[in-house]
């Protein structure tokens, strides 16, 4: 296992994309820290994670 700070990487990426919600950042952070990430994701895992991320993405207040 490589010694790397996932929190720092996610923080750096959020600095570039401040609109990203805590929920999305949290989900990706968990994913990147988990054992699951030690192997290549299957198609099903990618789809499931993608759906979770889309559901967790932040609400945007929109006019017309």
């Amino acid at each position: 296992m490589v010694d790397i700070s996932i929190q720092e990487i996610v923080k750096e990426a959020r600095g570039l994309h401040p609109e990203i919600s805590d929920a999305v950042a949290g989900k990706l952070s968990n994913f990147l820290s988990s054992d699951l990430n030690a192997s290549e994701l299957s198609i099903i895992s990618v789809k499931q994670l993608t759906e979770e991320l889309l559901n967790a993405s932040k609400e945007i207040n929109e006019k017309i």
Partner: protein, 774 residues
Amino acid sequence: MKIKKIKISWFRGAADPIELDLNLKSMVIYGENGAGKSSFVDAVEYNINKGRINHLAHEYSGKRQEKAVINTHMPGSQNGVILITMEDNSVIETKIQQNGCFVVNPPISEISHWDYQRTILRQNEVANFIANTKGDKYSALLPLLGLGYLEITAENLRKIERNLSLVGTLEAKRAEIERVDLKRNSSFGAVDDIAIENDLKNLYQTYCGKTATTETFSELVTNTQTAVQLKINKLSNEQKKFSSLLEISKLDVATNLSDIKISAIKLGESAQSLIVERLGVLKAAISYSEKNKDEEIKCPACGQPISSILFSSHIKSEEAALKEALANFNLYKIHVGSLCENLQNLKRLLFQDQIKDWKTQQDTGNVGYIESMEIDSIRDSCTSVIQAEIENRIVPIIEESKKEVVTPLAGVVELLTDKEKLETLQQITRALALKKKVREAEELIAFVSSLQRIFREQIRSRASAVIGAISADIARMWGILHPEERVEDVRLSLPDDVDKAIEIGLKFYGVNQDSPRLTLSEGHRNSLGLCIFLAMAKKDNKTPVILDDVVVSFDRNHRGMVGTLLVKEFSDRQVILFTHERDWYIDLKAQLDQKIWESKTLMPWESPEIGIRLSTRQFTFDDARASLQTSPDSAANTARKIMDIFMAVMAESLKISLPYLHRERNDRRTGHEFLEKIASSSNSFQIKRDGVNYESFTEALDDIKTADRLIVSWGNRASHDFNIVKNEATMLIDACEKALSRFTCTGCGKEVTNLTNEKSGFKQCACGYIKWKY
């Protein structure tokens, strides 16, 4: 931490428990092909990789590799078992059931933290590091650099990024938004959002009779639509009939069909240009690959090989062509969507009571066609046949409706125009929700893309640091394996222009080469792969180094250098070396320091029930005995070959000189020549029988003479006449084994070559019981 013992039963080739006692030393283990050497390597890998063995990962090995990991003849009552005893006497026990389920106790141990890539190197993996392309080298080397985890993470992020667009159905959402925008322009013109909102507020005031205050856009649309519908419900029958026919007359199905045809033609044109483009790329790539294979890159967009120089422009043109095709496809879908919306409205209107009489005057076949239409299937596939049917059956009905509304009916036209506007506004509201989702997904994609980029930057900077740190080791180890060869300055590097690539450069007779493949032979490339592995294994790592048959493509001279390399660079590490090369095994026994190295031999394989067996004998005569029953000639011949190899090594150690022969014949001396010379040196081989004085070791000399005599008569006959019988072969093998055993002390167990006294000119075993004066 070193390994003390590896014990396996019913695992891979093992049957009853077989224990490899390493005695905390380095070890060279000899065994014929199939003797079971790799089963011990697999046992270590199984523990490192948590129940997986990479070379067994294929479709026939079963979900848990149970068909390959378990001995095929394991009794039902047994489990596959691996017991690994470590330096601190901790034991890691792995029990594997017939179905491949396994339990490791303790689950977390020293070995579970080891990195396979830096611990084990197998024969088929040596060449991986010197793979064909930069990308392949990257895939093989990155895990070795300890960065495989980061690469997999970056790759997973890339998959998620790509999938966000698919799962979020972004293209379909964008197409729907575009369709609504077109409708908005057609209903309201090119006005801004404020103008549209004001228009809505006016409609709200007109139909609801009050001024909009705190209502949202969506609430204003819904409330106004309700008020308009109430007003339509109150129209007279004649007005209602007019309104329905007016609605039908406005369904511009003919234009829809025309738009679909035009966009289909454009779609076909862009597909054609794409095919031409791809053929051109393929031609260029083939031409290039013939000139210089080492610079090939596989295009991620189309999968074609292409030069690195052309790569960038190829991707741009490929991308532009694909974007144009995609835009045309979206436009086509938009027009089909508009057609379906109009058909849906027509179907709904035709069921209204107010136009019942008018409907009976129309062609019943055409009316029936409309009423039975499945709009969703048309949305999925709007073929030219369907388009023709719509043109022939539906367009005439709409044309008929137009005749009925030539003279406007007061109050109705305006009401219907407003109703249509409100429907567009309702679609705009839905499109807003879609826009929000698209934006969310786009932001998410950009975020994941940034994460991936940061990981790639991490990989690059770490790879660069590791490569810098090991380059000197690689060059030094290469120098040991290839002294006096003018291949120097072997180095790894990261190309500036490509993300996923590692290059290996070197200087060949003073000329810089970008790739080992340009000048190095297969054997040299493999020895370079071995150097890269050993350099990484040496770095920040204290695990044993396990080498499984890695010198297959090396000649005898370079195999000898591997021994030198291990002595020079890995004296402080435990090295476990498996080989099927008998002469190398014998060379190593003479070459390696017996204080830190031991050697063992495996018996030839017989059956799954018997499994792997360690030989109790010091030499490799079990290989010869294995064929005694079926082929005495072969058995005797093997014994003769063993003597040729062993005696050549022994004679060199004992500094026995023989008359010089012509050229390479010096390298092809037979065991007989050395035995004959030793047998005649009665004063050289001595024994301290009384513990004080040395005397001639006559029993040894007699045994050596006997072995020599039998080799000359039966060994040579086995090689040439093939008519030796079993008893003769047995006697020959026994005599050879006995003769060789005389060079090992019966007291301390060390060979007579163990210690050297240069000053007095003799060699002796560790305790001095036997010695050789040279």
